[in-house]
C-alpha cells in the first residue's frame, strides 16, 4: 500500500486537503446564502455604474462659491476633535488606572473600569452621536461629547495595557523607601507610561479628526452639516468641494500627527 509514487506530488496531505476544501466549501456556502437572500434589487446593481458616472459628472467641476463657509466649518471640525480629545485624555487617566490589574484598588473597581472601557469602545462614535444629539440637541456639544465617550475607551484600554506592562522593579524600590501609594504612582509608574500616553493621545487625535468629519451627518456639528446640506439640495458641485476639503484635512492631520509622534518620542 505504502508504495511511493514518484509520479504524483501534492502539496498537502489528504487530511489537510480535506480541511481546506471544507473551509472553502463553507465560505462559499455562506457567501452564496448572503448573495441569495440579501435584499438587493439587481436591476439597480446593473444600473449602478451609469448612476455613479452620472453622479460624478455632476460633481465636476467643484464649486468653490461657499468656500469661506466650508473652511470655517472645517476649522470648527478641527477644534471639535481637539477639544474632545483633550477632555477624553483627562477622563481616560482614572479609567486606565482602575482598569489596570496592578494599580486598581480592588476587584470591584477593576470590573467597573473594564465595563467602562468595553461599553465605550463597542459603541461607535456615530451611535454615541445619535444619543447625544437627542440629549443636547443638534450642534457641536453633542459632537464633542460623542467623540469624548468613544475616545475614553480607546485611550483607557491602551493606557491600561501600558500600566500593566511597566517594569515592576522601580515600584518595589520606592515602596521600600516608604513612599505613599500616590507617590509611587507619580514617580515609578507615570514616567514609564509617558511615551505611550503621548503616542496614544496623538493617534486618537488623528482618528478623531476623521470621525468628526461625519458627525454632522447625524446633526452633531462640524463639516458634516454642510455636506449633508449640500447633498440634500443636490448641490453636487459643492459636495465635491467639501469632499476635497475633507481629504485635505485628513491627510494634513495624518502628516501632523506623524510629525508630532516623531518629535516627542
Amino acid at each position: 500500500m505504502e508504495q511511493l509514487s514518484l509520479h504524483e506530488w501534492s502539496r498537502y496531505t489528504p487530511r489537510q486537503r480535506f480541511q481546506r476544501y471544507a473551509c472553502f466549501a463553507l465560505a462559499t456556502l455562506v457567501v452564496a446564502w448572503a448573495l441569495g437572500s440579501v435584499n438587493i434589487v439587481w436591476a439597480w446593481v446593473w444600473d449602478a455604474p451609469n448612476q455613479m458616472g452620472d453622479l460624478f459628472s455632476r460633481m465636476v467641476p467643484p464649486d468653490p462659491a461657499n468656500l469661506d463657509q466650508i473652511l470655517s466649518a472645517l476649522l470648527d471640525t478641527v477644534n471639535l476633535a481637539t477639544i474632545a480629545t483633550a477632555l477624553a485624555v483627562v477622563l481616560a487617566l482614572p479609567v486606565a488606572y482602575i482598569a489596570a490589574q496592578n494599580t486598581t484598588p480592588n476587584a470591584v473597581t477593576l470590573w467597573i473600569g473594564r465595563f467602562i472601557l468595553v461599553s465605550s469602545r463597542s459603541v461607535n462614535t456615530i451611535i454615541w452621536a445619535l444619543l447625544f444629539v437627542a440629549i443636547f440637541g443638534p450642534g457641536i456639544v453633542a459632537g464633542i461629547v460623542a467623540i469624548m465617550f468613544r475616545s475614553i475607551g480607546f485611550l483607557g484600554k491602551l493606557l491600561g495595557e501600558a500600566i500593566e506592562e511597566i517594569d515592576p522593579r522601580p515600584v518595589e524600590a520606592l515602596q521600600a523607601c516608604g513612599a505613599s501609594h500616590f507617590k509611587v504612582v507619580l514617580y515609578a509608574i507615570v514616567p514609564q507610561v509617558m511615551p505611550t500616553f503621548f503616542a496614544v493621545s496623538i493617534l486618537r487625535w488623528d482618528i478623531n479628526l476623521r470621525e468628526s468629519t461625519v458627525l454632522g451627518l447625524v446633526g452633531a456639528g462640524g463639516i458634516g452639516v454642510i455636506l449633508q446640506g449640500a447633498i440634500d439640495t443636490f448641490n453636487w458641485q459643492e459636495v465635491s468641494t467639501v469632499l476635497i476639503a475633507i481629504i485635505v484635512l485628513v491627510v494634513t492631520g495624518e502628516v501632523v500627527s506623524s510629525y508630532l509622534r516623531r518629535r516627542i518620542l
Binding site: I40, D54, L217, I247
Partner: protein, 264 residues
C-alpha cells in the same frame, strides 16, 4: 572646601523660556478662543441633563418585543459585511499590486496609491451617503461602501507586505523565463496569501462593526433599524438594538482574534 549646592530644578522639557511660556500661552489662548467661538448653544445644552433623564427613563427596560425586526436588521448587516469583505478583499489584490513600488511602474503606482488614500480618507459614513444618493437606499449602498472601506485598509497593508517580499524567488522565476503572471502566482502569491487571509478575517470583523453604522445614513442593516428607533423616540427598542450590536461586536472580536491566532 567649596560650598555644596543647595539648589536644583528639573530642566524643563523645552529649554528656551520664551518658547515654553509662549507655548503655554498659545495653548490657553487656543482653548479660550475655541470654547468662545465654537457655535455652542449653551441654553439648549444645559437642558441636556433633564432630557438625558427622560431618554434613559424611556430606555429602561430595553424592549425586545420587535425582535423579528432586530434579527432581520442584524442578518442584513451580516450579509452586507460578508459580501463587502469578499468583494473588498478580491479587489484589493490588484490594487495592492498597483500600489507596490517593487512591482508596478511609476504611473500605475501613483494611481494605486491614490485609490488607497482616497478610500482611507473618507469615513465610511461619508462614502455611504454618497452611494445612497447614487444607487438608492438599502443594502447595496452598504456593500459598495464597505468594499471601498475594505480596500482602503486591506490594499494598504497588502501593498506594504508585497513591498517586503523576498525578491529571491521572483528573480529565480524571471531568470527561468516565466511570464509576468506566472511570476506573480508562483513567486509572489505564496508569500502574501497567509497575510491576505488574516487581513480578510480582520476586515470581516471591522466591516461588521462599520455595517452597523452606515445603516444610520440609509445604507441598510441594523443601523437603519437603530436610526428609525431613535427617530421615533423608541428609546427602549434603541437600547435593545445597541445592546445586540455591542454583544455581536464583542463576539466577533473574540472569534476573529481566535481564528487569526490559529492560522498565524
Amino acid at each position: 572646601m567649596t560650598a555644596v549646592r543647595n539648589h536644583w530644578r528639573k530642566q524643563p522639557f523645552i529649554a528656551s523660556p520664551l518658547l515654553r511660556y509662549g507655548l503655554y500661552a498659545a495653548v490657553i489662548a487656543y482653548v479660550a478662543v475655541t470654547v468662545t467661538t465654537l457655535p455652542i448653544d449653551w441654553t439648549r445644552a444645559s437642558q441636556g441633563l433633564e432630557r438625558a433623564g427622560r431618554i434613559f427613563g424611556g430606555a429602561f427596560p430595553p424592549s425586545f418585543q420587535r425582535s423579528g425586526l432586530l434579527i432581520d436588521g442584524f442578518l442584513e448587516s451580516l450579509k452586507i459585511a460578508l459580501l463587502a469583505t469578499v468583494g473588498g478583499v478580491f479587489l484589493s489584490i490588484p490594487i495592492a499590486f498597483m500600489a507596490a513600488r517593487n512591482i508596478a511602474p511609476l504611473p500605475i503606482y501613483y494611481l494605486g496609491r491614490g485609490i488607497i488614500v482616497v478610500a482611507r480618507s473618507f469615513h465610511p459614513v461619508i462614502v455611504a451617503i454618497v452611494f445612497v444618493k447614487a444607487v438608492g437606499f438599502g443594502p447595496f449602498a452598504g456593500v459598495l461602501t464597505l468594499v471601498v472601506y475594505s480596500i482602503g485598509f486591506v490594499a494598504k497593508l497588502l501593498a506594504e507586505r508585497i513591498e517586503e517580499i523576498d525578491p529571491g524567488p521572483v528573480e529565480a522565476m524571471k531568470s527561468a523565463g516565466a511570464p509576468f503572471l506566472s511570476v506573480l502566482i508562483y513567486a509572489v502569491f505564496p508569500q502574501i496569501m497567509q497575510r491576505q487571509i488574516g487581513l480578510g478575517i480582520y476586515q470581516l470583523d471591522s466591516n461588521l462593526r462599520a455595517s452597523a453604522v452606515v445603516g444610520i445614513v440609509g445604507a441598510g442593516g441594523i443601523g437603519a433599524t437603530l436610526a428609525n428607533a431613535f427617530g421615533r423616540y423608541d428609546y427602549d427598542f434603541a437600547l435593545a438594538i445597541t445592546m445586540v450590536i455591542v454583544g455581536v461586536i464583542l463576539i466577533s472580536e473574540a472569534v476573529s482574534g481566535a481564528i487569526r491566532k490559529r492560522i498565524a
